[in-house]
């Protein structure tokens, strides 16, 4: 009789405790499942966006990832803002994809983002940005004027998702003195003859007390593997962006050759540590101090050299492959309009004004004037807009610039005419990580090129398959 009694009063007590707990747990479950709401393809993104709408009176266009920085950005921004007649608020600094996507997921995206072109495929595949065909039509953007590979890089699933701008290309930069000392020419280091590059490396490399004192040739790995592979007719990714080609024999051969250049100088660690100790942007840069024989480098570095060491003994030319052709692995930026942007019409108009030929021409004029005032050579601007590039070269770039800057300008424009890009795909970051990690394993002495690229191929293809499967399911 006495045994059950203590239990009875406890039941309601326990149920009182369990009740609030259960309610709290339910709230938490509902909260968590309802918290991470997404946006994207399910929302029919872009279907009903009116790119021709008038800007909201007193509205502000929020731009993420763009800063005016120099005259090229500032002049175009001022011009576009004036044309728009609305306030434009810039969130400067490189675009942080996570910050952008979080803002988009929270339903508070900026009106316009300024992204790396290789990010566009990922953003588009996740439904984060709007297709821009209607924007192009509405604003009369002449897409034929854009550099084709730049346009291809922002085209995903046959739809344009970005308005490209700028084109970064590589040219060969070399120390004229070191080449002359060894009886070499630019053709020995421009990539057209891999054996000659290796021989030139051995000839120009110097060691002092066991330490590297002159880097013969810097292959610029891992970043330029796509360039060296292209010279052998290979692309890291298939044209449709679905198949990795990292274990292609031509890619492996390109990697072996580029690594052999480092090995001829004591190995990549020696070259990298010496390179890291250099005054890259200053008057004591590697060419000015005779610490570097040759390397491939983006064209913007020509201006750095022109400003910091105008009298350094330099030689310039395009990068060539063993096939004898000029090649340049182009990178650049693009404007994209997020799904859920408050004022997509104003964003479209701003992007259109920023990338039109007249905007580039005006900005380039200001830069040319500024450089003339400083007694520096105006070496041109690669805008991603062929029409603007031609106009700037014809009207603003000096017809007969002093050596060696004349060769630099010629090489830059030659490279701009021979660019390639990696196709837009939904796993851009994963693909890049896979091939760069593979190259790094070779550089760090952990794997041989063939094994490293085989592993990279497996990782990259797995990421591509998963991302494309998700995309295909949504279609």
């Amino acid at each position: 009789m006495s045994a059950p009694r203590p239990h009875r009063p406890r039941r309601p007590h326990r149920s009182r405790a369990v009740g609030p707990f259960a309610a709290a747990a339910l709230l938490v479950v509902l909260g968590t499942t309802g918290c991470a709401t997404g946006i994207g393809a399910d929302d029919g993104a872009g279907a009903d966006v009116d790119f021709g709408a008038s800007p909201s009176p007193g509205g502000t266009l929020q731009v993420m990832g763009f800063g005016t920085g120099d005259e090229i950005g500032e002049v175009r921004h001022d011009r576009a803002t004036e044309a728009l007649g609305t306030e434009v608020k810039l969130s400067e600094g490189a675009l942080d994809p996570q910050a952008f996507l979080s803002a988009a997921a929270a339903g508070n995206p900026p009106d316009l983002v300024y992204a790396e072109r290789d990010q566009i495929g990922t953003f588009a595949s996740r439904g984060a940005i709007l297709p821009l065909s209607a924007c192009v039509d509405e604003q009369g953007i002449d897409t034929d004027a854009f550099v084709d590979p730049a346009l291809a890089e922002v085209t995903f699933g046959d739809e344009l998702y970005g308005i490209p701008e700028f084109n970064m290309v590589q040219i060969t930069m070399a120390s004229a003195d070191l080449l002359a000392d060894e009886g070499l020419s630019l053709a020995d280091v421009d990539g057209s003859d891999p054996d000659a590059v290796l021989a030139a490396t051995e000839a120009m490399t110097r060691r002092d007390g066991g330490k590297l004192s002159v880097i013969g040739v810097d292959s610029k790995l891992p970043e330029f593997l796509p360039l060296w592979a292209k010279g052998r007719g290979a692309d890291l990714l298939s044209d449709d962006g679905r198949t990795a080609q990292l274990d292609d024999s031509a890619v492996v051969e390109a990697l072996e050759q580029a690594v052999a250049v480092y090995d001829a100088q004591g190995g990549f660690p020696d070259v990298k540590t010496y390179r890291d100790s250099a005054d890259f942007f200053g008057a004591g840069n590697q060419f000015a101090t005779g610490q570097l024989g040759a390397m491939a480098m983006e064209q913007w570095y020509v201006n750095v050299l022109n400003e910091s060491s105008p009298d350094a003994p330099l030689a310039f030319g395009p990068v060539k492959g063993p096939d004898g052709d000029v090649h340049a692995f182009a990178t650049g930026s693009a404007w994209a309009i997020p799904v859920g942007a408050a004022d997509p019409a104003a964003a479209c108009a701003y992007a259109a004004r920023m990338t039109e030929t007249e905007a580039w021409a005006e900005a380039a004029q200001v830069r040319a004037d500024a450089r003339a005032a400083d007694g520096l050579v105006f070496t041109g601007v690669l805008t991603g807009n062929e029409e603007a590039d031609a106009q700037i070269r014809d009207t603003l770039v000096p017809a007969d610039p002093p050596a060696p800057w004349d060769d630099a300008i010629d090489a830059m424009y030659a490279a701009n005419d021979h660019t390639f890009t990696l196709p837009a795909n939904p796993a851009g970051a994963e693909f890049e990580t896979a091939w760069q990690d593979g190259v790094n394993r070779v550089l760090n002495g952990q794997q041989e090129p063939a094994a490293a690229m085989a592993q990279a191929q497996e990782e990259a293809q797995s990421a591509l398959d998963e991302a494309w499967a998700t995309w295909d399911e949504q279609q």
Binding site: A36, T273, D276, N444
Partner: protein, 310 residues
């Protein structure tokens, strides 16, 4: 009985008031904890059971993320790197902190100056420390190898040789050893002088006094420094990321520097596999919990707290 009831009721009412006031005072912290710590912890647990890319709705995948971790070679590599670094860094850090604290304890009036001097580097942003690492430990022209060269030692390639990446990072972590020095110095100053006097009377030399008086008396502080630093070592990120994966090395990286949190960050914030990254975070949480529990168990035999009853 009635009197007893009255006397017990008064403190109870007062205790309630004090409790209410106490809760009111700490409520901002409680609120902050619930919103910014407890909720994200719980929410990451939910996300770890989903496939979530930040933009599209999370889709429930059960334990798939945890199963994927088992097969992921990068997880094993990152865990192994992190464990190696922890085993290397924690003893080094604690020993150097102890040695410096013992030295400062002898410094008399000047100890205040040195205490500040040792603590100042702690103020340096970790990103800057990562960049500093690349300069100081440059295998060709870094100050560290230059110094080693003066005594005839040919220094290694600290920043590129996979075998020397972690020792380099462990050494550069000593940049912020001042924080631990301050804690240990405070503990040293609390050791009763009488104990040293008694030990001297018994003929104990410096080493004997340190081993049998100092270390046991500051073992609580040593344990605290060890536990906190172990957790920090398992969470190693900023210095390694800025040195080997950040702006200074946007394309070059080294597997030897792929620490667990760097891999987690890469999965979550670069490749937007937020569900998988959440599962990775929970594994790290479990590992740290186990290690800390083991440390607590061991501490029962080794750590002495003044005033404790056994």
């Amino acid at each position: 009985m009635g009197r007893t009831a009255v006397t017990t009721a008064r403190p109870s009412a007062r205790a309630r008031r004090e409790r209410t006031a106490g809760l009111a005072f700490i409520s901002p912290w409680i609120l902050g904890f619930l919103v910014f710590t407890a909720w994200p912890i719980f929410y990451s647990g939910y996300l770890s059971l989903t496939d979530y890319d930040v933009l599209t709705d999370p889709s429930f995948v059960g334990l798939d993320n945890y199963e994927r971790m088992v097969d992921d070679p990068q997880v094993r590599l990152a865990l192994w790197n992190t464990l190696q670094y922890t085993l290397l860094q924690v003893p080094l850090y604690v020993l150097v902190a102890l040695a410096l604290a013992l030295l400062l304890h002898q410094a008399g009036r000047a100890s205040g100056f040195f205490r500040t001097a040792f603590f100042i580097p702690k103020m340096t942003p970790p990103v800057a420390v990562g960049v500093l690492l690349l300069l100081l430990f440059n295998g060709e022209y870094g100050l560290v190898n230059e110094a080693l060269g003066t005594i005839g030692i040919d220094g290694p390639s600290w920043t590129t040789d996979p075998d020397w990446i972690k020792p380099g990072l462990a050494l550069v972590s000593l940049w912020s050893v001042g924080a631990a020095v301050v804690i240990l110095l405070a503990a040293l100053q609390d050791v009763p002088v009488e104990l040293y006097d008694a030990a001297r009377v018994d003929g104990a030399g410096w080493w004997r006094r340190t081993r049998t008086v100092t270390i046991p008396m500051i073992s609580g502080a040593l344990f605290f420094v060890t536990v906190v630093n172990t957790i920090a070592a398992f969470q190693m990120f900023t210095e390694a990321y800025s040195a080997y994966f950040g702006a200074g090395n946007s394309t070059y990286s080294n597997d030897a520097a792929l620490f667990y949190v760097i891999y987690l960050f890469r999965e979550g914030f670069a490749e937007l596999h937020m569900g998988y990254a959440s599962a990775l975070a929970w594994l790290l949480f479990a590992v740290i919990m186990v290690v800390t529990a083991v440390q607590l168990l061991v501490s029962r035999r080794l750590v002495y707290y003044e005033g404790e009853q056994r």
